[in-house]
């Protein structure tokens, strides 16, 4: 039985992603992200279909996926609040911000609210160190936050006032697309072992220098 987790548009996206790599297995992480975009977390069905699409086994898919923190193998909140507590943020109140989030939402870092709206995580450096303390909601930044800002943010999310934050699982909302006929041609390494044609320009230069 062929796997049917990805259908319609997402199946087409999956196939296009795979076509951009010389080896199918390289698409594994992007496909796990696509699965997470579809369901908010990575299901067993998703991993079986990804294995079929990439000529791997479901165990290999889980083996790779479980290494990476962003993949969730159980349902999480629609909004994942990742508070940075690494050194630059810690120095300016990152830990207090996390504690405030925990108190306001009544959950500990790693937990999800009963209504399935929020998950909080205590995360490592998210590369906005000069703007400490900072956090991401579904990987969208909020910088230099006070506890009041955080209260406002949670209220905005609850009332649908945050337009730039898609539900958990969606990363970039623009996808790469190589138009037909405009690509250089992505093939497996063993089929690409010829010398790139433009390197012949080096030969001509050597010859002419030699002539001089």
């Amino acid at each position: 039985m062929p796997e049917t987790y990805f259908t319609g548009e997402n199946l087409a996206i999956a196939e296009e992603i795979i076509s951009r790599y010389p080896v199918k297995k390289s698409a594994l992480i992007p496909l796990l992200h696509l699965a997470q975009e579809q369901d908010g977390w990575v299901t067993d069905d998703a991993m079986r279909h990804i294995a079929e699409l990439t000529d791997t086994t479901p165990a290999e898919v889980k083996g790779t996926g479980s290494f990476y923190e962003m993949f969730k193998f159980h349902p999480v909140g629609k909004y994942m609040i990742n508070v940075c507590t690494n050194l630059s943020c810690q120095l300016l109140g990152g830990e207090e911000l996390l504690e405030h989030a925990e108190n306001v939402l009544g959950i500990k870092a790693g937990g999800t609210t009963d209504d399935g709206m929020f998950t909080i995580e205590d995360v490592e450096c998210i590369a906005a160190c000069t703007e400490a303390p900072c956090l991401q909601v579904n990987y969208r930044y909020r910088l230099r936050l006070t506890t009041d800002d955080l209260d406002q943010l949670i209220d905005d999310i609850r009332n649908g006032r945050t337009t730039d934050i898609p539900e958990h699982g969606t990363l970039g909302v623009v996808r790469q697309h190589i138009p037909a006929g405009q690509g250089a041609g992505i093939v497996p390494p063993e089929q690409a072992n010829e010398r790139p044609v433009w390197l012949a320009r080096n030969d001509a230069a050597e010859t002419s220098e030699g002539a001089v």
Binding site: R20, Y68, C125, A192
Partner: protein
């Protein structure tokens, strides 16, 4: 004219006085668009490169001494020379997995000037005969991913990327790819593993570096985002002009992020080897002093993995070789400043905890050692520390990184610096990096550790047997 202040659409970036090799477009709100890029000299560097032979372009990059900006500071032009001839295909992998604590520059370059990065990739591929480029962006950077996707789509449509670029026989595909949250993937061989669809665990090197055996076993160049972003300017202006900035050993500019207890934390493009830490922390052009009139206690000069510096080191220039000789590294240009209110043990624990969480688990000294370090530091901080804990921390550190660990000089105690890099019993430098905060703070602030330990503990050293139970 520089605005001398923050730029609202590029949070953190300060448009200060100084060289603008990679940040020249940041002042424009639409700096990420192809229109703005073309209107400001965009893709002209590639055009110039295509008028020359590939070997000639490589020579220009080697002559300019473009140092790698990812951490190790190795010259890109030299790295490029390590590929075995004739073993095609060759690949380019762009390391955009910026996640070293305190590091914040590659994300700005990707979000604010994606075409500059793409042009840098194309120049590299042309010079070396690379036929496919993978632009690996950190998973958490959703906005950078969508900006680069849009930039690539626009560049393909205009014929800057893909088949027969600018009407020549030069053809290359660039694939945007992205990770899923693992610091170690910033290490180049782990990055390649991740790109092959595997767990991001580093490969053993030497003997085989990626330039010889990399992605899919083929010769692969792995360069940092900022390194490649230098190339369009270099092609337009030449190696001589590039070397007019900076010092002889470290030409050009580099981006640094100064965070923590300063009045104006920010991302600055500075002149390498010329600007000193003092300029950076106290200068009007930069951070404008330590916050609220406090005193500087210590600072991390090059990302979480760098041994710490203290007030005696502030007059050093930001130059890799100098900082290395003085016992630390410039690394990824991440400077974290701590004032006299900072608890040294707590700060050290936070970085150690990072390494314990991010250890990939491949090498035992790191997998076990980082966790031990974290637990011991935590119990010291919790007032549960034992008198033997300080020596135990140093012993664990010595198992991960044997011998004297790089450290700054301490004139008050008559101690000299131990130069960078450390020795290691692990495949990659993650484990040894966890040692930096420990040895730096114990040597300098041993009394802070002792004060925390003696607060509660009365177990004599001899009565604390080293058993598995002690560790639990």
């Amino acid at each position: 004219m520089p605005t001398h202040d923050y730029v609202p659409h590029a949070p953190g970036y300060v448009d200060n006085e100084g060289p603008k090799i990679v940040t020249s477009r940041f002042v424009h709100e639409d700096s990420h668009t192809l229109e703005r890029y073309e209107a400001t000299g965009g893709y002209e560097g590639l055009r110039r490169a295509l008028d020359r032979t590939p070997a000639d372009v490589h020579t220009e990059v080697r002559d300019a001494v473009v140092l790698g900006r990812g951490g190790a500071g190795f010259p890109a032009g030299v790295k490029w020379g390590f590929m075995p001839p004739g073993k095609f295909p060759y690949y380019l992998v762009v390391n955009g997995d910026e996640s070293e604590p305190g590091t914040y520059k590659d994300r700005l370059l990707m979000e604010r000037d994606p075409h500059q990065l793409i042009e840098g990739c194309l120049i590299t591929c042309y010079a070396l005969g690379l036929t496919q480029c993978f632009l690996y962006v950190r998973g958490e950077m959703a906005h950078a991913q969508e900006v680069i996707a849009q930039a690539l789509n626009d560049a393909y449509a205009k014929g800057y990327v893909g088949k027969n670029i600018m009407g020549t026989e030069f053809s290359v595909d660039i694939t945007l790819t992205w990770g899923a949250g693992a610091y170690i993937v910033g290490e180049e061989t782990a990055l390649i593993e991740s790109l092959e669809g595997n767990r991001g665990m580093p490969r053993l090197k030497p003997p085989f570096f990626p330039a010889a055996i990399g992605l899919y076993g083929q010769p692969t160049i792995v360069n940092n985002v900022e390194t490649l972003s230098n190339l369009p300017w270099l092609m337009l202006n030449g190696a001589d002009q590039y070397k007019a900035y900076g010092s002889e050993a470290s030409p050009g500019s580099r981006m640094v992020a100064v965070s923590g207890h300063v009045n104006r934390p920010g991302v600055y493009e500075i002149e390498q080897g010329v600007t000193t830490f003092r300029d950076l922390f106290y200068g009007d052009n930069f951070c404008r002093g330590i916050r609220d009139g406090h005193e500087l206690k210590m600072f991390v000069p090059g990302g979480g993995s760098a041994p710490w510096f203290f007030p005696e080191q502030v007059d050093l220039p930001l130059e890799g070789r100098t900082v290395g000789g003085e016992g630390s590294m410039l690394g990824s240009g991440a400077i974290m400043v701590m004032d006299d209110t900072t608890d040294a043990v707590k700060a050290a624990l936070r970085l150690v905890r990072f390494y314990a969480r991010e250890s990939c688990g491949k090498c035992t000294p790191c997998r076990e050692g980082t966790t031990w370090e974290e637990r011991i530091l935590q119990r010291i901080l919790d007032g549960e520390g034992r008198p033997s804990d300080i020596d135990k921390l140093l012993d664990i550190a010595d198992n991960i990184s044997p011998g004297p660990y790089p450290v700054a000089a301490d004139p008050s105690q008559g101690l000299d610096a131990v130069p960078f890099p450390p020795k290691q019993t692990t495949i990659c430098p993650l484990g040894p990096s966890s040692v930096a905060p420990i040895t730096s703070t114990i040597r300098r602030f041993r009394h802070e550790y002792e004060a925390k330990i003696t607060k509660r503990d009365s177990i004599p050293v001899s009565a604390a047997p080293v058993t598995a139970e002690v560790m639990s």
